[in-house]
Subunit: 199 residues, 2 copies
Amino acid sequence: MAEYPEQIERLTDMFRRLDGIGKKTALRLAFCVLDMPEEDVRTFADAMVSAKNEICFCRVCKNISSSELCSVCSDETRDRSTVCVVEDFRAAMAVEKVREYKGLYHVLGGVISPMKGIGPDKLSVRELLSRLDGSVREVIIATDPTPEGETTAMYLSRLIAPLGVKVSRIANGVPVGGDLEYADEITLRRALEGRYNIE
Amino acid sequence: MAEYPEQIERLTDMFRRLDGIGKKTALRLAFCVLDMPEEDVRTFADAMVSAKNEICFCRVCKNISSSELCSVCSDETRDRSTVCVVEDFRAAMAVEKVREYKGLYHVLGGVISPMKGIGPDKLSVRELLSRLDGSVREVIIATDPTPEGETTAMYLSRLIAPLGVKVSRIANGVPVGGDLEYADEITLRRALEGRYNIE
């Protein structure tokens, strides 16, 4: 018994393949699975396989979806004249949670990063341009305020603006509830530049 | 799209049922699964179900096993006159890793804890006693050096000693590589009490 039974080793190895799960955690999770009722383990396994099999990307906006057209793109009540460009589905979900934005999305699938060898051709840029067929009046670029996100925003705005479509970028500034003392200089400079009148 | 597709929510819910996995981690793990090749997801799901179905407890020592008799109990070369009593299979694995101990094990399945309502009847104490049929000469009690572990050790020694079986307890002391400065007082007192001659 220098090792756990083979079935446990195998399950532990699979857990280790998940991001951020090390050897000890993987073993702990494997034993959690053993502690679950048999019925639930089967449900877990089924959930895994069906998520993998049934989740695909929306034909239009490239967001994750359980059908060819995602729930946003297929929603007739959404404003089709505005497209919010995000890096990934997590960002789209974050914007969606505000419950304020009523337009459509476009998921790039990343940002331009020469360091990582990611050029515009690896992102869904062509698909974005093909959507700008006259019905879209504004593209809101909501990539992260990181160097790569800014570069991508700049790149997209130079591609899109000549097509006569308004291009906007989400505002930078101090986060609500944040503390000026801990804000970095660039954020604070942007917050000052972006100041607005109160009266 | 106020929520992720149902398949993802379902998988995330299952991950959340594992100990120490919160909402955000569960979501991250679910997406890791989606990023895996389909073949691997199926292997993962199969590993889960087969671990649950095929892992059982050894008939003799109550350790986890993939057969009725675990690999230690079925190993003819092990010393059958010594039984090391541990709280759970993790502890048995820890002792086994030393590659020094050649006897058998007995997995209690916990420790006596009035606070948690765990009495000796909820542990495999009866099974341990039934193993002391004359062939066992020494029982090494290797429960954790916690109040509950100590109580359990005391309880077992009072049960076993009258049967004419030698009962021993693993030593307390400063861990090898540890720092006396950070050793707690009880550990240090035990280390002093347990001092041995060097010459």
